[in-house]
């Protein structure tokens, strides 16, 4: 039976992930990390992916994975959003893994190696690619089977061992060593993007069309809603705590009605974001077409995360504008995620198609 609640197993998974993140990914340590030369935290990723097995959640047990569903993945993403942990979970364990799962060929048994956490992958598409209008126009496959071209704004590429590259209407696997991956200054400090350049790079064709890539983008968009929920929830909780503690005019600022009412509205937005994100995760885990649930969740959660983060900043006053306070990490994540995998406007447009509300 479908449900928008969390099962006991899902709550246990959440507690385990939250425990690790509390220990290894405090806001202060994330801030220090993103200022270093290695913004992705691969030590933490090893713990999550290999020791806890979250990298293999979507991979069947026969390939060494956990054989879980999008529902469990969504819970992990909520927690990762809540801590803006700089790990390639969405890019490797969701986007790349879904594309591989849909591919008929898996030379080198990539799935098993992803499941065990030995390998990290990335889908070489711009992070802003929408599931609805995706076309591969920038990389071409040569007659000799090598790939040439350039893909910009690829999230998670800098730490990938394998790149899955759409080219000339098919999907290829390329060892990262055969590509040039150049991280560029990124709005989202905790999920920097990179430019991937290929010069006659050796590649193995794993799918002869791009249906798996579209499925990956749709799955990614639907599950990103849960990450956005986590971001929004952290902003709401942190702001609430601040409003109770910060005094002006000899009273907690949270006692002013203008602020209380804004918080009530934000809370209501987040309540609905949770229902929408659960709806998408549940639909992606089920048998029926998840498209509408995904479009609804992404249209709502993308904007809500940004709005809550922006309100959080305003309600913190000056401290919210400082580099030292972790709030900006969440604002940057929220704003970048709003553009990722289709904008809210792209998803609303798709709602119009799916719900029979033509222009």
């Amino acid at each position: 039976m479908t449900s928008l609640l969390y099962s006991e197993v899902e709550e246990e998974l959440r507690a385990a992930v939250r425990g690790v993140l509390a220990d290894k990914s405090s806001p202060a340590s994330v801030l220090a990390r993103v200022e270093s030369d290695a913004p992705y935290d691969m030590g933490l990723w090893k713990t999550l992916a290999a020791d806890m097995g979250v990298a293999g959640l979507l991979i069947p047990e026969s390939r060494g994975g956990a054989g879980a569903s999008a529902r469990e993945v969504a819970v992990v993403l909520e927690e990762l959003g809540r801590s803006v942990a700089p790990v390639p979970f969405l890019t490797s364990a969701v986007l790349a893994t879904t594309a591989l799962l849909a591919a008929p060929e898996d030379p080198g048994d990539l799935l098993s190696r992803l499941a065990s956490g030995d390998l990290t992958a990335a889908l070489a598409v711009p992070f802003s690619a929408s599931p609805y209008g995706f076309r591969d126009e920038t990389v071409t496959a040569g007659a000799d089977g090598t790939l040439s071209g350039r893909v910009t704004a690829v999230a998670g590429a800098a730490v990938a061992d394998v790149l899955l590259v759409p080219a000339s209407g098919a999907l290829y696997a390329v060892e990262a060593g055969h590509a040039t991956v150049e991280t560029v200054p990124s709005l989202d400090l905790t999920r920097p993007i990179a430019t991937v350049t290929l010069w006659s790079a050796p590649a193995v064709r794993i799918a002869s069309d791009l249906s798996g890539v579209r499925r990956a983008l749709l799955t990614g968009a639907g599950l990103l809603a849960s990450e956005q929920l986590g971001v929004a929830k952290w902003c709401l909780d942190t702001t609430l705590a601040y409003l109770k503690e910060r005094h002006q005019f000899a009273r907690p600022i949270g006692s002013f009605q203008a602020i209380k009412h804004r918080m009530a509205d934000l809370w209501l937005d987040v309540v609905r974001a949770r229902a929408a994100a659960r709806g998408a995760a549940d639909a992606l885990a089920g048998e029926e077409d998840p498209s509408l649930a995904v479009a609804v969740a992404q249209a709502w959660c993308g904007d809500v995360a940004v709005h809550v983060a922006e309100e959080a900043l305003q309600l913190h006053g000056g401290i919210g504008m400082t580099w030292e306070h972790p709030l900006h990490l969440f604002l940057k994540r929220a704003k970048a995620a709003q553009l990722a995998l289709g904008t809210p406007g792209d998803h609303r447009q798709q709602v119009g198609v799916l719900a029979d509300l033509p222009a």
Binding site: L4, P252, G254, M263, A264, L268, R272, A275, D356, L357
Partner: protein, 388 residues
């Protein structure tokens, strides 16, 4: 009793009971415990979990049904309050005709001087032997003109602070001294009334709960009111958004890019609000009621207002007209049967009735989010000394 047993019982009831006489059917359904299964046996229920009601409704689809509009206050507010605070005699006396709709109920809470601040109300009830004598004025009383009974809060002790001097009664709307006058609304009709209570004598056995405990009893009513107003989850794309969407589909000539964008935004908002309602019901069924309930009415009010406003605008030239301004006393709110203009105007009440949206935001921020309460300057002052 589990779901299978309840289904079997409902099927057996359906087979054994002729549906030709609506009232007889509803009475028999009550007596079979299939009215509201979570109520106790003998009072229309089976003492079963509330969510099993759905199974009963499915089994009895197509049989005579209640009138949810006309009976809204009885079913949604009076019944749970009577169940929680009534004596055995009161439960036996009131619940059956309330449920079958033989007796309609209204709510005598609001007064000209007491709306959001209900606890300041001034209607007096003075004890006289076995009776209470009630004097005062109520206002915005929906459906008072066809009500047999009312739930009433009155002041029995003016010398203590406002929350403490209240007592809760069932008011006999046929008693001498009860006069309901229609109040015309912005829609043209009169759904609500002002009700004058002049020397109305109520026997003490119409009191619900202890003398002075009226505020606590009223809380039960108000909590149920908000759930009743905001708690219907419905189906995807149904309800108010469904009406606008239908116009949109049938009338391509009305479409513009701007309206399209706004419609899609509202469609998404309606859908996530519906999903939050579904989730809330799952939480209730799983015995883990979440605080989401307080938010649903707030969400539906603003959504209904935005949607109905959009529909009037969408209709352009037709939006300039109005179906019927006749001043008459209406039976109940008729969103589906009237035109877009009526819906737009009537929806304005959604953020006022049953607690205004501002009061709901206060409640959410204080009780759900734990932010400090509004200053309560009147908390310790005897009611009679309050500035007014």
């Amino acid at each position: 009793m589990n779901e299978d047993e309840i289904r079997a019982r409902a099927r057996a009831f359906r087979e054994a009971t002729p549906a030709s006489d609506r009232l007889a059917f509803l009475r028999a359904r009550f007596d079979a415990g299939l009215a509201w299964v979570h109520f106790p046996e003998g009072l229309g229920g089976l003492g079963a979990p509330r969510e099993l009601q759905l199974a009963v409704e499915q089994e009895l689809e197509g049989t005579p049904q209640l009138d949810p509009g006309l009976q809204a206050i009885g079913l949604g507010m009076a019944a749970p309050t009577i169940l929680a605070f009534g004596t055995e005699e009161q439960k036996k006396r009131f619940l059956r005709p309330l449920w079958t709709g033989e007796e309609i109920w209204c709510q005598l809470f609001s007064e000209p001087g007491a709306g959001s601040d209900l606890a300041t109300l001034a209607t007096r009830a003075v004890r006289d032997g076995d009776e209470w004598v009630v004097d005062g004025q109520k206002v915005w009383t929906s459906g008072a003109h066809h009500a047999r009974w009312a739930i009433l809060v009155a002041r029995t002790d003016p010398d203590v602070p406002k929350h403490r001097g209240l007592t809760y009664f069932v008011c006999d709307m046929h008693a001498p001294g009860v006069e309901a006058r229609p109040l015309r609304q912005i829609t043209g009709e009169a759904e609500f009334n002002e009700v004058f209570l002049t020397g109305v004598r109520l026997p003490d056995d119409l009191r619900l709960g202890a003398v002075g405990d009226g505020w606590r009893v009223a809380q039960t009513t108000l909590m149920n009111e908000r759930v009743a107003i905001g708690g219907n989850a419905g189906r995807r794309g149904g309800g108010m958004i469904g009406m606008v969407a239908q116009t949109w589909r049938e009338r391509p000539e009305l479409r513009t890019p701007d309206l399209h964008q706004r419609l899609l935004r509202l469609w998404v908002e309606a859908e996530v609000t519906r999903l939050a309602g579904v989730r809330l019901r799952e939480q209730l069924a799983a015995g883990q009621p979440g605080p989401e309930g307080s938010g649903m009415k707030l969400a539906f009010a603003s959504l209904n207002q935005a949607l109905t406003g959009l529909e009037v605008e969408l209709r352009r030239e037709e939006g300039l007209g109005y179906d019927d301004w006749t001043f008459r006393r209406s039976e109940s709110v008729d969103f589906a049967g009237r035109d877009a203009g009526y819906r737009y105007l009537r929806a304005k009440g959604n953020s006022i009735e049953g607690g205004t949206s501002e009061i709901l935001r206060n409640i959410i921020s204080e009780r759900v989010l734990g932010l400090p309460s509004e200053p309560r300057v009147d908390k310790d002052i005897p009611w009679k000394d309050l500035p007014r």
